[in-house]
């Protein structure tokens, strides 16, 4: 052992005590309660992840990378336990309400508060069984070497994670996922905004335009893949036939590693634009007409008016759409990829992180590595969501 569990516990306790002590001191009360509470929380946090692993990351015969990873786990554990407790304690001490997302009616509530329990039981049970439990199980699996139907399961400590750091292919996959997601989100939303600003204008036949524009939302990512397979496949696809005839160009839409991701991007943009157009039209309708007219009287040009008046007012819509589009690009594109470039494309050029997880976990029956990659994916999604919420989420009441 490089570090003994006792030291970890102590370090955690000190950090926890310091953090909660600070919170309690600022509130000016109960410092003597804060210190021990913080110490317990910090100590618990420190060993939260490493104790179930049997402190294996700190064994002397393991690599340095494992030890570093172990310390990261300790830090993450402390943060995960101490931060929420500090936040809650701080709010409680300042007598602030804990949930402040929407106003709660104070009148009209029913007596017999316990009736709420059976009303909540179905939702809570399902969430606990099919979201929380699998999350915990994902954590456990990520430290195992596990195959369905095998005779045994072997613990591999944090190898499933540390091997990823050394795997250039996996780093490529992360880059590719971000790259494809970025273009799907930006292209789809940019074009949708342009089209929505036109479709929102008082035009003859506007409602017909609208229906013709938004229906692709209801198409499935799988069907998007199938239809694009028809048009873009290199043996007899219409697109290559036409582009060959007209411009003498034939592209390897599905078998050229440089082009294939773009076929996925195109199909995904095509499928997701309907949804974005719909919400942008709705968002534009919420922009007060008098504001725009006032801008027009001031002599502001169309672009200026849009940029200074409409765009800021659209930001809740934009934020909401970014969140849903990022989710779409990360997860829902799976079906499109699976139909267009089954297996993940030439040179794995269309293999996203999600696609990789399924390839590993289901088709290679390598559940441990797949679970570890799921967690990396999870962290990325959480990270992105947090960044988005910090930058633009505050104005929006709720998301879908």
């Amino acid at each position: 052992m490089i570090v003994s569990p006792v030291i970890l516990l102590l370090v955690g306790a000190v950090i926890g005590a310091a953090a909660l002590g600070y919170v309690f001191r600022r509130a000016g009360r109960w410092l003597l309660l804060g210190l021990p509470l913080g110490a317990v929380a910090g100590g618990f946090g420190a060993i939260l992840f490493v104790a179930p692993l049997g402190y294996c990351t700190f064994e002397t015969e393991r690599e340095q990378l494992d030890a570093i990873f172990g310390f990261l786990l300790v830090a993450a554990g402390i943060a995960l336990v101490v931060l929420p407790i500090s936040w809650v304690a701080g709010r409680l001490l300042r007598h602030e309400s804990l949930v402040s997302t929407t106003s709660q009616p104070t009148q009209g509530t029913f007596k017999h508060w316990w009736i709420a329990l059976p009303l909540l039981v179905p939702t809570l049970t399902i969430l606990a069984l099919f979201l929380y439990y699998p999350s915990a199980e994902t954590l456990r699996l990520s430290t195992m070497l596990s195959r369905l139907g095998a005779r045994r399961e072997v613990s591999v400590c944090v190898d499933n994670f540390t091997r990823l750091v050394e795997d250039p292919e996996y780093l490529d996959i992360i880059g590719r996922t971000l790259y494809m997601s970025f273009f799907i989100v930006v292209l789809s939303m940019g074009l949708s905004l342009l089209i929505a600003t036109m479709a929102y204008l008082p035009l003859r036949g506007a409602s017909i335009y609208r229906i013709l524009l938004v229906w692709p939302y209801a198409m499935s990512p799988a069907v998007a893949g199938i239809i694009f397979l028809l048009m873009f496949n290199p043996s007899g696809g219409m697109v290559n036939y036409l582009s060959g005839n007209w411009f003498g160009i034939k592209l390897g839409w599905l078998n050229d590693p440089k082009v294939a991701p773009w076929t996925i991007i195109l199909a995904s943009v095509w499928k997701s634009m309907g949804f974005n157009i719909l919400f942008y039209i709705a968002g534009l309708q919420n922009v007060p007409k008098d504001l725009i007219e006032a801008g027009a009287i001031d002599g502001a040009g169309v672009v200026r008016r849009f940029w200074h008046i409409v765009w800021p007012l659209l930001s809740p819509t934009t934020f909401f759409l970014i969140v849903t589009n990022v989710t779409y690009a990360f997860f829902e594109t799976y079906a499109t990829i699976d139909y267009l470039t089954p297996g993940g494309g030439p040179l794995q050029s269309t293999t996203t992180m999600m696609y990789r997880v399924i390839q590993l976990g289901v088709y290679n029956n390598d559940m441990g590595k797949a679970a570890a990659q799921s967690i990396v994916l999870f962290m990325m999604v959480i990270g992105l969501t947090l960044v988005l919420f910090r930058t633009g989420g505050r104005q929006v009441t709720y998301g879908v």
Partner: protein, 293 residues
């Protein structure tokens, strides 16, 4: 605000624009029409071509014939008699209805609990539900897959429906909506001696059709279009759902036959597209996004 329908706005705007001088009106419309027609074409051509191909034999597809072909009947035969697409469709209908209906009811119940009850530890329960917004099923799908296998639910509707019957989204949607309903209503109902469930179904539900409709549209499309999960958990073709089942048309029998595949793709897309277009208004008014509270 939540019930302003698109048509009214357009009616008003249309009147306004008619009063404007011709010079400022024409060029604006000209650009808009051009861009919109272009956009409609771009989004419509893939489907239109798929429709064409669904009537063609492979030979006609590879001849790049841009008129309806002679293979519709044969393709129909392949889709329904050889590949039994209707089995998949029935499975998908059951799964979609199951998820949509149960999820809506569960969400109504939990929305009711969050708005009309004050109970100890409410914020913890609320946090418990809130956090799941950040937990997409996809990232824990490997463990869920194992868990469902442990439950021996593989190849059953239970596996397809139950894990998706609770939703933070639905709960919050109804919570939001109920919170906007004047509390006097619930006070009046309580004075009349209505219990919470009676209040829910007699008072709240009739006032919430737009929200219910919006959630139903989203869930119907979501469930109908589900691909990854059925693909993993269902291995018995007689239990398979449509988005995966359609893939069987891609397999075997030699060269991929595009006609039947496209016919199936078009047929599969019709239900959600029709539901969506019909309920578009409810969909939008149920999901009003406002910049302030």
């Amino acid at each position: 605000m939540s019930s302003v329908s698109p048509t009214t706005i357009h009616g008003q705007a249309g009147v306004a624009s008619r009063n404007r001088p011709l010079r400022t009106r024409l060029p604006k419309r000209w650009y808009a029409h051009l861009i919109l027609i272009g956009a409609c074409l771009l989004s419509g051509i893939p489907l239109f071509y798929a429709l064409l191909v669904s009537t063609q034999t492979n030979a006609e597809v590879f001849r790049y014939q841009f008129t309806p072909g002679s293979g519709l009947l044969e393709n129909w035969d392949v889709v329904f008699y050889e590949r039994h697409l209707h089995t998949y469709m029935i499975n998908s209908v059951i799964m979609t209805l199951g998820i949509t209906i149960i999820k809506t009811i569960f969400s109504l119940l939990s929305g009711l609990a969050f708005v009309y009850f004050r109970f100890p530890g409410k914020w913890i329960v609320f946090g418990f539900v809130l956090i799941t917004l950040m937990m997409p099923t996809e990232v824990l799908i490997i463990a869920l897959f194992r868990f469902i296998n442990d439950l021996e639910w593989q190849n059953t509707f239970l596996a397809l429906i139950v894990p998706f019957t609770a939703s933070a989204t639905g709960t919050f949607l109804f919570r939001q909506h109920f919170a906007s309903i004047p509390p006097e209503l619930s006070e009046a109902a309580q004075l009349d001696g209505a219990n919470p469930l009676q209040f829910l179904f007699r008072v709240l539900v009739p006032m919430s059709w737009n929200t219910i409709g919006a959630l139903a549209v989203v869930q119907t499309i979501y469930a109908w279009n589900m691909y990854l999960w059925p693909n993993m958990i269902i291995s018995d073709p007689s239990m398979q759902t449509i988005q995966v089942g359609i893939g069987t048309l891609r397999l075997g029998g030699g060269s991929l036959r595009f006609g039947p595949l496209m016919l199936a793709a078009v047929i599969v897309s019709l239900p959600p597209v029709i539901v969506f277009i019909l309920l578009q208004k409810q969909f939008m008014s149920g999901f009003t996004l406002t910049r302030d509270k």
